[in-house]
């Protein structure tokens, strides 16, 4: 193990940014879980809301992807 303190900071920062992906997973799970709960209560309305489901998942997921991007930037670009 060798390297300077800047590398240490990069790796720690990338690891911290990676936690954002886990939090985004909570958000995506929340969207999908609530959709399923609603769909089981009223199955006839479920099919018309799948587009909304995917839009909601996409918005929740985008922020997790941002943190992944920060991690990638720290590892490869800085």
């Amino acid at each position: 193990m060798e390297g300077d303190i800047a590398n240490l900071g990069q790796f720690i920062g990338a690891g911290l940014a990676g936690m954002g992906a886990g939090v985004a997973a909570l958000g995506v799970g929340n969207v999908a879980g609530n959709y399923l709960a609603g769909a089981l209560r009223n199955p006839s309305a479920a099919a018309s809301q799948t587009a909304t489901l995917f839009i909601g998942i996409a918005f929740a997921e985008a922020l997790g992807i941002f943190s992944f991007l920060v991690a990638l930037l720290l590892m490869f670009a800085v």
Partner: protein, 250 residues
């Protein structure tokens, strides 16, 4: 930098090596006109789309062949999406959205072939697609609605006191659109393929090699799903932005 992949990290190949842009002939520097592996796989994607949508449907059989029914399925799928999400008057812009969808779907699926190159994993590719949508939709909004398009940022349902704050938030979220639109696709593709390579790298350790193969198979199945869903999400968000441009009132 995490470039040392030899003795230190224990992986025979680096998971990000698959995204390197290389010239196809020789190995000089990459200029804008250099034919690279990205060019090759994009061209293959375009050829694949042409084969499916032109050759596959050219016979116009009443009882469709397999390729014709896949082409008709894709057409009907996108047509219904535009009509449902963006409204009937958005069908004028259906050819553009269909082009986007087919290009992204083919780029994603061709990238899933082992040793192939995923062109949509590069922000340079997805950013051009997203910027095209962003500029097109903004210009369309101003051409169709004039200054009423700015009503998108002025939420008349809200109390007057918090409207400036809302306008600021709406403005920021509007300009973040092309960023999130492009990074969502590129990030998903990059992350999925990097995970595949990481698990493939575990295969060299004999004790966990069978587990690694199982994991790669499972994640590959997930990636097939993600490849389609991300193309779907990109297209449906384009429809949502188009709806905002055509009907800017909240």
């Amino acid at each position: 930098m995490a470039t040392e992949t030899g003795e230190d990290s224990g992986l025979v190949f680096h998971p990000m090596d698959q995204f390197i842009v290389k010239p196809l002939f020789g190995d000089g520097p990459v200029h804008w006109y250099t034919i690279t592996n990205v060019t090759l796989w994009m061209a293959l994607g375009v050829l694949g789309i042409a084969a499916l949508l032109i050759l596959g449907t050219s016979r116009r059989a009443i009882v469709p062949s397999r390729s014709q029914s896949v082409g008709e399925l894709a057409y009907g799928f996108v047509h219904k999406m535009v009509e449902d999400v963006a409204g009937k008057d958005a069908l004028k812009y259906f050819p553009y959205i269909m082009t986007l969808f087919m290009f992204i779907v083919f780029a994603n699926f061709l990238g899933l072939i082992p040793t192939a190159y995923t062109t949509t994993s590069h922000i340079a590719v997805t950013a051009v697609l997203a910027l095209g949508v962003f500029l097109g939709v903004t210009i369309l909004g101003f051409v169709k609605n004039g200054t009423k398009f700015l009503g998108l940022f002025w939420v008349t349902e809200a109390p007057l006191a918090i409207r400036p704050v809302l306008a600021l938030i709406e403005l920021i979220s509007y300009f973040v659109r092309p960023v999130s639109h492009s990074i969502r696709l590129a990030g998903n593709m990059t992350a999925g393929h990097a995970v595949l390579k990481v698990f493939a790298g575990f295969g060299q350790v004999t004790a966990i090699a069978p587990l690694s193969i199982l994991a790669v198979t499972a994640i590959y199945g997930l990636e097939v799903l993600v490849a389609f869903i991300q193309a779907y999400v990109f297209t449906i968000l384009t429809c949502v932005y188009l709806k905002d441009a055509l009907h800017p009132s909240h």
